[in-house]
């Protein structure tokens, strides 16, 4: 096996995303002799769960960090080209990927493309959610784990899922003050999930310890509750906590206002499907897997030379993502002739088995976080839904009233989702609101057509290297 780390004359496999799935896909493809490039936006591979600490800070006793360090060591030694700080912004069916790197544009092409782009955190907005000092729950874990920084005290942690308790416990461990945990779920709903969580007693035990620690520390935990509003002038000052019904619609009558120095909020994760959509991979809607998921063969193949692994194929968690990444790497090696079909079967079978086991835990968590319709229905008319373009719910209601029945129609009339984030931040909220307004099921309002550039890029990067005719154009969905 070659030990060079740069292969200037081309790659067999491009892996997009350096999280658990992407790292394992790269390692596996490399192990079978393929020339591999791992393209990642971060400073170092790791993704979000296995994120590398920046500088000497960070919680070094963290298990996820130890796992990340191990994989980073393997990746550095395996001979794959690690292209960190490369923001991919376009991909074509010819498996050409355009990136923006610190030194300018980079164009890559390979025989196989493995998508491992992870997730986007979903936040259904409330008044004040755009205030500085309000961050995502996933962002709070990054702040604590990677940067060793505690969100401003007192912190209010709100939303759904195990991250609520992980973040609250980590803030307290780091010496910060948690004013309240505001959980959309009822304790009975957590209890009902226990059988599915028991497949990973280690993780279940860790979660129960977080909850017990918070209770022992006197942190108020509000169940079946949400943040009705966040107030502040230039940053967060206080929050209003209100109860919700079983479908998460806001019960407005009794509200409690408490001071807050920061808010961490998250309403679940959705698969980051923009590259798969751009490549024309068909999707289906699976609310309990986080939303729109690409249609895949069991070997992770989505189209000729295109493979998808990890949470971007449906939320299953980091452990499952590693096995899915290995499987994608094996399948790419098989299809590129680097692995005999027989040998492939022998190697893939145990990985598939371990993937299924890991998915049991991950999918139980994902099901718990399934978005319920009341949350978006309760968004007030003047609340900003599309953060980039400052578009409030009332504009979506108006467009629905004028006949919009698909999110693409909504986009062209309201500009929702046309800002720099390309709709990653508001896609779920917008689609839920439109579906509620139009009396349609969520899947009937569709998903936004992915448009290049998927990340904002300076015009010079486009004009310097490309002819407009060469920019890949995705197929239009029927409006």
């Amino acid at each position: 096996m070659a030990d060079r780390t740069e292969i200037p004359d081309g790659y067999d496999v491009l892996v997009l995303g350096g999280g658990p799935a992407g790292m394992q896909a790269a390692l596996t493809a490399r192990r079978h002799g393929l020339r591999v490039a791992l393209v990642d936006e971060g400073q170092r591979p790791g993704g979000q769960v296995y994120r590398a600490p920046s500088g000497p800070t960070g919680d070094v006793h963290n298990k996820d960090l130890a796992r990340g360090e191990r994989l980073r060591r393997d990746i550095a030694a395996c001979g794959a080209a690690v292209l960190s700080r490369h923001s991919a912004w376009a991909a074509g069916a010819d498996r050409r990927v355009e990136c923006l790197a610190p030194d300018g544009p980079v164009s890559l092409q390979a025989s196989a493309l493995i998508l491992a782009t992870g997730t986007t955190e979903r936040v259904i907005p409330m008044p004040g959610v755009t205030l500085p000092g309000v961050i995502g729950l996933a962002a709070a874990t990054i702040l604590l784990k990677a940067h060793g920084v505690v969100p401003g005290s007192p912190a209010v942690i709100a939303g759904v899922g195990p991250l609520l308790y992980a973040v609250a416990a980590a803030i307290r461990r780091a010496g910060g003050h948690v004013a309240a945990v505001v959980d959309l779920l009822h304790p009975a709903e957590w209890a009902a999930a226990l059988p599915g969580l028991a497949s990973r007693p280690d993780l279940l035990g860790r979660g129960l310890a977080w909850m017990a620690g918070l209770r022992a520390g006197g942190v108020p935990i509000h169940h079946r509750a949400t943040l009705a509003a966040i107030h502040g002038d230039t940053s967060v000052a206080e929050v209003e906590i209100a109860g919700v019904a079983a479908d998460w619609s806001l019960l407005g009558q009794r509200r409690r206002t408490i001071p807050a120095g920061s808010v961490a909020i998250g309403h679940g994760l959705s698969p980051a499907s923009d590259f798969a959509r751009l490549l024309g991979v068909p999707h289906r809607f699976a609310a309990d897997r986080g939303g729109w998921v690409p249609e895949l063969a069991p070997d992770r193949r989505a189209a000729e030379g295109i493979y998808i692994a990890g949470d971007c194929a449906g939320i299953s968690g980091a452990a499952a993502a590693e096995f899915a990444g290995m499987l994608a790497g094996l399948s790419a090696a098989r299809d590129l002739g680097a692995l005999e079909p027989k040998r492939y079967a022998a190697l893939a079978r145990p990985v598939q088995r371990r993937l299924r086991r890991a998915e049991r835990f991950g999918s139980t968590i994902s099901r718990l976080m399934t978005l319920r319709p009341g949350l978006a229905r309760s968004v007030a008319p003047d609340t900003v839904v599309c953060r980039c373009e400052d578009i409030a719910r009332a504009a979506i209601d108006r467009a629905a009233g004028e006949g919009a029945r698909h999110v693409n129609q909504l986009k062209s009339t309201t500009r929702c989702g046309m800002g720099p984030c390309q709709g990653r931040s508001c896609a779920d909220a917008v689609a839920e609101i439109l579906a509620a307004d139009a009396g349609l099921r969520r899947e009937q309002v569709g998903q936004w057509t992915a448009r290049v550039p998927l990340r904002p890029i300076p015009l010079a990067a486009l004009l310097g290297e490309f002819d407009y005719a060469e920019i890949p154009r995705p197929p239009m969905l029927p409006a």
Partner: protein
């Protein structure tokens, strides 16, 4: 930063360094001109865009380097500076 000296550890996320210095608001939204800052911390939401040496970049992903020129004021003026 905006013509003044600003000290932070080399390699630290620029957005985190600014937040630690009490600078939570990094820009104003293009239409309503409401203050915005770090939100997703993973380069997805683009809320923390600042100009570094003339280039718009998400502050959360940008490492601090000696001598880098950071402009926040341009982004507070209008759509994208």
């Amino acid at each position: 930063m905006d013509g003044a000296e600003f000290e932070a550890p080399e390699g630290q996320s620029l957005g985190v360094a600014l937040a630690l210095a009490g600078r939570l608001g990094l820009r104003r939204s293009p239409m309503a001109q409401t203050p915005r800052g770090l939100f997703c911390l993973m380069g997805s939401c683009q809320e923390c865009l600042v100009h570094v040496d003339g280039r718009p970049v998400p502050a959360c992903l940008e490492p601090v380097r000696a001598g880098m020129q950071v402009a926040l004021d341009r982004l507070s003026q209008g759509r994208d500076g």
